[in-house]
Symmetry: C2
Subunit: 120 residues, 2 copies
């Protein structure tokens, strides 16, 4: 039954078997998108305006679109907010080990400011 | 009369410790460059005009430049030919497991036509 009365279109997502490796690599090859993915790796989901990134809203919307269309994240609407979540299980099924290997590589070289704060 | 005596500038390469993950991901996120990397994974080096890719020479030069500047390949001149080689050891040192994981992911979904062909 059609329930889509919101202003924004319902986000569409590729099926797991349609996730393309080059799309994933291209999506990850950007510092803002990499930050979003790293944040989502550590929590189940997050509202789109609450990520620790310093870009204009329109730019951020573009980054989320690239991430969603690549298959890296899902997005859902709730009470006029958009929540994002990493498709960790889908990605592991499609490309075993890929996401963890890329994130580990990034952690080796990330700037200290991007590292998780150690417990005192 | 020799027509190709003009020397091209010696290619420069980033030091291993300067190889950037996002540059690597961006370099790999292209079908032609992925094919070049997969071919080089299987042999020590190869002359630049002999890869099984169907792009114009100027486009191919651009792809090799992206690969070289990212740190994925080295290039050297010999007798007016340019040879390319994968920096597999440097990459493994910098980002352990990354290249193999990405290539394994690509092999899971690559079309048969994209498989490397043997040297003629």
């Amino acid at each position: 039954m059609p329930r889509n009365t919101r202003r924004r279109p319902t986000p569409t997502h590729p099926a797991t078997e349609d996730i393309d490796l080059l799309d994933i690599l291209r999506a990850l090859a950007d510092p803002t998108r990499m930050t979003i993915v790293r944040v989502l790796r550590a929590e189940p989901e997050r509202a789109c305006g609450t990520f620790p990134v310093d870009v204009a809203p329109s730019t951020l919307s573009h980054h989320f679109k690239v991430l969603r269309e690549s298959g890296l994240i899902t997005q859902r609407e709730e009470a006029n907010r958009r929540f994002s979540a990493l498709r960790a299980a889908d990605l592991e099924h499609r490309f075993p080990g890929l996401l963890d290997t890329v994130l580990a590589a990034h952690a080796r070289t990330a700037a200290p400011a991007a590292e998780p704060t150690p417990t005192a």
